[in-house]
């Protein structure tokens, strides 16, 4: 036995009677002294690994010691030494803050004067003191997260497992939580923090990177990005058509990966490539070296982005009229009782533009989004979609828009073909128009071979293609995307955005809501929504500049802008 807090060798776990391999052949050791990041997209196996470590699942292969115990046979003594905060924090939403603490204190047998003392410490640590009587369900995402942490810390554990503690929480609370957990590490507690946000990984002392149940990296985050030194660039000064340029660049053999980043294009080159070759023929464009990021490294390790062009590149409608306003929101306001969910939200989106409504959960972006889709009646203000006033002709306006929901909202037990048929019917397509539309979608998205398969069983990338096909089958003027790629692995996300970029090029106006800042970078312009208000609007680069530094992430810019708006600085 070693001194390590966790030691794992040859760990494997299968589900569904052994047919689905969730984790295979993991070996690592973890000690104290730093936050260990467990990093990977949804479905990579992060939660399964944490549950195995916590003794909540039993392994199929390998050996593991956690706090010197075997989670399989010594679950009870192990639970006395470790704390686990599951996704959604494991709180009882119908109990108050104090009642939640009470419960966990009882479960961990903490009584007497120590209990009161510990509560006081935790409430001070989490700044939840003034809210002890509030129901946990009525707390903001950030406060829930802190309460979840407090419940996990009722007794100081040796090991703290946090499963996606920062999902959907606003960037400011995220940063606060990070600091709190850092304090715990300094106090000698071992911490594993799982996350699908690759940017969060850069802050960890050590990362385990999972992809499809396998560990693709184990070490300090710097080690992950080191091989990319000198290979990450920003193509800046591109005047117009950066999405089309990106589409062309991605087909080149010397480009591993590329994404839109505000007004620029971020590119990762193959080792030994000549960066100058990429800006050739583009007037005014320059390649600027940038520090590589974790996501770049992740993509590099997975072999880079696919080389296919989007079928939408030769989109049906190139007769666009850029500059024409397609979506206009005029002081949209929605109140629920006394609570103002959205307050005087105004913005314009022009044809072919990709516009992002960005903000943490509960900020008011979904409310705004629902009003724009005509699903929710505004308390005051108005909106037009493709020239139709939502207040006067909501069904006409809705006929001009396509919608793709956050989660896979197709019928998983219908075949791909049946899904297409169904959505064609929903959009009122019939006869020849319906046949044409469906066959067009099958050709465009190369769904031909999958037609007979259940939509639920096709690979994630194809699911997304199908969902997109169902949303754009009736050639909408406006496409609404609700957190289309949050948590999705970067490769699938890139494929998806290739299609979105091409759609936008062919004149479709796109509006995205997301709390996922990486997604926001792909937008032409974003509106930052916070506590029901639009606190800033502009291109991602402009917002970064306004926050004082063009090289920061959009998330950092967001935090800065929120803080300025709170301290009375008025965002113009």
């Amino acid at each position: 036995m070693t001194d390590a807090l966790i030691s794992v060798a040859g760990l494997g776990k299968r589900f569904d009677g052994g047919t689905v391999e969730a984790l295979s052949d993991l070996s690592f050791e973890i000690g104290t002294g730093a936050i260990t990041g467990l990093v990977g997209p949804d479905g990579a196996g992060k939660t399964t690994l944490l549950r195995l470590l916590a003794g909540l699942l039993d392994r199929d292969e390998g050996v593991m010691r956690v706090c010197g115990l075997d989670p399989r046979s010594d679950a009870a003594p192990l639970h006395a030494q470790l704390s686990y905060m599951p996704q959604k924090f494991g709180l009882y939403e119908d109990l108050t803050v104090l009642e939640n603490l009470d419960l966990y204190a009882d479960l961990r047998e903490l009584g007497g004067p120590e209990r009161a003392e510990r509560f006081e410490t935790l409430l001070a640590f989490t700044t939840l003191g003034p809210f002890t009587g509030r129901l946990a369900g009525a707390l903001s995402g950030g406060m829930k997260q802190k309460l979840g942490l407090a419940c996990a810390l009722i007794r100081k554990p040796r090991l703290l497992l946090l499963d996606e503690p920062s999902v959907g929480v606003d960037p400011i609370s995220r940063r606060e939580l990070w600091r709190m957990v850092q304090d715990l590490v300094d106090d000698g507690i071992g911490v594993i923090w799982s996350t699908a946000y690759l940017d969060e990984a850069e802050l960890c002392g050590r990362v385990l990177v999972l992809s499809e149940g396998r560990m693709i990296f184990d070490g300090p985050p710097g080690g992950m990005t080191a091989p990319l030194a000198g290979r990450a660039f920003r193509l800046t000064g591109v005047e117009t058509g950066r999405r089309r340029i990106l589409g062309d660049l991605l087909t080149r053999a010397d480009v591993v990966d590329g994404v839109i980043e505000g007004a620029d294009i971020r590119l990762i080159l193959r080792p030994g490539s000549e960066p100058g070759a990429l800006s050739e023929g583009l007037t005014g464009a320059r390649m600027v070296p940038v520090p590589p990021r974790f996501e770049d490294a992740f993509m590099d390790r997975l072999g880079g982005v696919g080389k296919e062009r989007s079928p939408f590149r030769n989109g049906a409608r190139a007769d666009g009229n850029p500059g024409k306003s397609v979506i206009r929101s005029d002081r949209l306001t929605r109140k629920f009782g006394d609570f103002v969910a959205a307050s005087e939200i105004s913005f314009n989106v022009t044809e072919g533009e990709i516009y992002g409504l960005i903000g943490p959960n509960g900020a008011g972006k979904s409310t705004t989004f629902k009003m724009l889709c005509g699903l929710l009646k505004p308390t005051s203000g108005s909106a037009t979609i493709a020239g139709f006033d939502l207040g006067q002709s909501p069904s006409k306006a809705r006929g001009r828009l396509g919608y793709m929901a956050q989660k896979f909202s197709l019928y998983g037990d219908l075949s791909v073909r049946q899904n297409l048929d169904f959505f064609a019917g929903v959009y009122g397509l019939s006869g020849a128009a319906r046949r044409t539309a469906i066959s067009q979608m099958i050709d465009t998205f190369e769904l031909g071979e999958l037609l007979g398969q259940d939509a639920g069983s096709v690979p994630p990338g194809h699911k997304q293609r199908l969902a997109l096909a169902c949303a754009v089958m009736h050639h909408p003027d406006v496409l609404f995307l609700d957190e289309p790629t949050s948590g999705v692995d970067p490769r699938t996300r890139r494929e998806f955005w290739t299609h979105i970029n091409a759609l936008s090029d062919s004149g479709t106006t796109i509006i995205v809501t997301t709390h996922f800042m990486e997604e926001a970078e792909y937008c032409d312009r974003v509106g930052l929504v916070y506590a029901g208000n639009m606190i800033a609007e502009g291109s991602p680069s402009a917002l970064k500049l306004r926050a004082g530094d063009p090289d920061i992430t959009l998330e950092e810019a967001f935090i800065h802008l929120v803080e300025t708006s709170q301290s009375g600085g008025v965002a113009p």
Partner: protein, 381 residues
């Protein structure tokens, strides 16, 4: 840090904490009140007032082919009966369409020669045509018609100085336990069984499935809790809730519906407690296996509520079921409970009924709890 008891050992503080949490949740969630208070009251009122299995006002067509003084008094006997609404005609063809259309439950035809033959000491043939599409009603109507006919014959024979053949056997009715034969008196105790089934199986299955769905079970299981603590922490509050609901139902049954309570409160409490355990055990088992509120509610309706309704002698008589179904009824806990409840309410503390019922219930509970304990793990898989 305070001393921590050996992990995995049963700990009263943990159980107390769990119970307190559960009670707080129950008190805070109005839907629990609906299930524990409103629903029982509603069911009792429904079965106490709304549903009655007592025969009333059957639609009867009476065809008297040749009116005479005797047929006149027969017609009067039918018309005066509280069981029938009578339409009279001289020709069956006038009333047959109504029978076909379902407007009449039965048609009684008194042929021209009937009274003459009867007075001649022969069998008097009257014809009864019954709508058999609802066999229960058909049997009841047939029985009432026969009874009425026999009574009438008897009266006539007294009036005519014994000229008519007396019926071969004379039947004296005496009804024990429920002299008015009011169906309410056995429906109300029966519906108490249904109420406890709902609280025990459905509510319990739902609250535990909810914990799985919301991810709080995962957080609970990661603490040093053990299976016994978890089960007791979950069972105790709902046991008490069920018993409170039982008390409420009993008070309503006795005061509002005038159902007699001839047995003792203690026996009533004892059998209810044992039944509650069986029912809770079933709820626990369902939620442990399904972990999903929708599936849990469907499974508990199918496996607990409906059997309690059909196989408990509550509404449907087990003795008149096919033998195979009668055997099925032996594994339905509600069967024993309804039998005991009806006994305690209507007859008293009849130990030869209550003891075997309680023993059977105890056995069922023991089996269910053993399975539940085996299936419940402090693990997710």
């Amino acid at each position: 840090m305070s001393r921590q008891a050996a992990p995995g050992r049963f700990n009263a503080r943990r159980v107390r904490g769990l119970i307190r949490k559960e009670v707080r949740q129950v008190l805070r969630d109005p839907s629990n009140f609906v299930v524990a208070i409103i629903l029982p009251a509603l069911l009792l009122f429904l079965f106490g007032y709304g549903v009655t299995l007592d025969p009333r006002h059957y639609e009867l067509g009476l065809v008297i082919e040749q009116p005479t003084a005797e047929t006149g008094s027969l017609a009067a006997a039918f018309t005066n009966s509280p069981f029938f609404e009578v339409q009279i005609a001289q020709d069956r063809r006038q009333l047959e369409p109504a029978l076909v259309a379902g407007d009449l439950h039965a048609l009684v035809v008194v042929p021209a020669a009937a009274s003459a033959r009867a007075y001649g000491g022969q069998t008097a043939p009257i014809q009864v045509i019954v709508d058999g599409s609802d066999p229960n009603t058909a049997n009841l109507v047939l029985g009432y018609v026969e009874l009425l006919w026999a009574n009438w014959l008897e009266q006539q024979s007294i009036g005519h100085g014994g000229m008519i053949a007396p019926p071969p056997i004379s039947i004296e009715h005496r009804v024990w336990f429920n002299p008015e034969l009011a169906s309410r008196n056995y429906l109300v105790p029966g519906s108490i069984a249904i109420i406890l089934t709902l609280i025990g199986s459905l509510l319990t299955a739902l609250v535990i499935a909810r914990e799985w769905e919301r991810g709080t079970m995962e957080a609970l299981l990661a603490t040093p809790i053990n299976v016994a603590e978890l089960l007791i922490g979950k069972l105790a509050p709902y046991f008490l809730l069920g018993m409170a609901s039982m008390a409420l139902s009993t008070v309503l049954a006795v005061t509002v519906f005038g159902v007699p309570l001839r047995g003792s409160i203690w026996v009533l409490t004892l059998i209810s407690a044992v039944y509650m355990l069986a029912s809770l055990g079933q709820g626990l088992l369902i939620s442990t296996l399904t972990r999903n509120q929708l599936v849990a509610s469907q499974v508990s309706i199918l496996s607990a509520f409906l059997p309690a309704f059909y196989f408990s002698d509550f509404v449907f008589e087990i003795d008149s079921m096919p033998v195979a179904l009668q055997w099925v009824s032996y594994i339905v806990p509600a069967r024993y409970f309804v039998s005991s409840l009806q006994t305690v309410f209507l007859a008293g503390d009849i130990w030869p009924v209550i003891l075997p019922d309680t023993a059977a219930l105890g056995l069922v509970s023991a089996v269910i709890f053993t399975v539940t304990l085996m299936r419940t793990r402090t693990r997710l898989d």
